[in-house]
């Protein structure tokens, strides 16, 4: 589903590791390494934090003493360069002398446009994702909106799924609230960001999918992100199909 609406998705890939008091030289070395490997044209650095930016490819990479985080606006910049991105993360982790990540985290946020009004999406949300409206009446009167957040496990991975029907205004506000979104600006008029915001600002189903795994070795980081991307995509497709009351089996056959 992410691939069907690539320009309504945002990706955050994160590697967390134990902090080291001698991080300062490692951070700068990791940034130098990341800058060379990723070929991102813009950088910003202070002793606590470094930032690499490639606004044209809608990608940013942040590094501090315990986190490496790569973000893309749209899923295409992530999918097309996934091998390179994860390889950059692996190389930078080596510069930090990390033998094992405390947590690897992949988060894909989507504002799925379903050609339905917010009211319609809410109507389907009840009785597909959560019980019918009637069952909530004693708790909160007549329900007119809902949100759902579910935590689960898939093998060793932890999976989190958050889904919420959103009005155009809510989607606009949620988009503006995405961390570091202002770093994607291409020029001082922020035309790309404005186009994105306008595209997202429609009645939609907001879906945030997260996959997390503890204790991943740097050499296994690319595999984690590759497998998790596929898994989250499959699960997001199931969410949308479930909401639209379509059978889920066909997703499993893909």
């Amino acid at each position: 589903m992410f691939k069907e609406q690539p320009d309504r998705c945002l990706v955050t890939a994160q590697c967390r590791f134990a902090p080291d008091i001698g991080f300062a030289p490692k951070l700068s070395a990791a940034l130098v390494c990341g800058h060379k490997a990723s070929k991102m044209p813009h950088w910003n650095y202070n002793p606590q934090r470094g930032l690499l930016r490639d606004p044209k490819k809608k990608t940013i990479l942040l590094a501090d003493h315990q986190v490496l985080q790569l973000q893309t606006m749209g899923i295409t910049p992530w999918l097309e360069r996934q091998e390179r991105h994860t390889e950059v993360l692996r190389k930078m982790l080596a510069e930090y002398d990390v033998s094992e990540c405390t947590m690897t985290h992949l988060e894909i946020t989507a504002f799925f446009h379903l050609a339905m009004s917010h009211e319609e999406i809410v109507d389907l949300f009840f009785d597909t994702m959560i019980p019918t409206r009637d069952s909530f009446a004693p708790l909160c009167g007549t329900p007119y909106d809902a949100a759902l957040r579910v935590f689960g496990e898939s093998g060793d991975k932890k999976i989190e799924a958050e889904m919420m029907p959103m009005t155009a205004d809510q989607a606009k506000a949620a988009f503006a609230g995405i961390p570091n979104i202002d770093q994607f600006r291409e020029d001082r008029f922020e035309s790309e960001l404005v186009a994105w915001r306008d595209r997202v600002a429609k009645d939609c189903l907001y879906v945030k999918m997260v996959a997390e795994l503890e204790g991943v070795k740097p050499q296994d980081v690319p595999r984690f992100f590759r497998e998790s991307t596929e898994e989250l995509n499959r699960r997001a497709t199931r969410i949308v199909r479930k909401l639209k009351k379509l059978p889920l089996e066909s997703v499993d056959k893909q």
Partner: protein
Amino acid sequence: MNQDITDSLVRTSRPRFTGDIERIVTHEIGDDLTSDPISELVAVSPSNDVTFVKFTSQVVSHAASSKRSSAYMGAKRRDRAGKIHGQLLGLAEHAERDDFEMFVHPVVEAIRKAIRSSTEVETEGNPREILRLIRDSLLDGGWENYRRPEVRTAVCDLLDVLQSKEEVDAEDAHQAFDSLDEMELLPRPPLMPDVKEETQLSG
């Protein structure tokens, strides 16, 4: 129903009398499009002057019209088809009963409701046609055929199409017709007398 007396009469040229009564009757169409009568009893006191009673009927269709996207109606169709599918499967346990038609009746009603609810949605024409065919196969004693498991299975297969597709195309409707026709489940139109031949005979 809004019972507030508005000042609309004040704006008219007609003189306003003390006993004038105005009522606004608001019909709000819900997403299920059910029809409900609204009635109100207004007591008009006897008086020497003419008493005007003005009823304004206002239809609020926002709720109904805002729930009419084809994607939404498609989801509702899949949901309804799923429920009808379940009802049809449930007929199996009553297939041997003499009053079998009593158990078929709710299925027919559910199909009718499903057809009605999508009447104004252009993109749901083919699903409606399939539902009409299934409905027709149940009428006029056609329910007797539904005692046979192979008939129920064949019709459930048609409902599977309605349940599993985002858009049902004309080919699906044709196939549904062929499938039901092949099993001789569709009512046959009465044969028309050959007018020409009859004329010759009487002449």
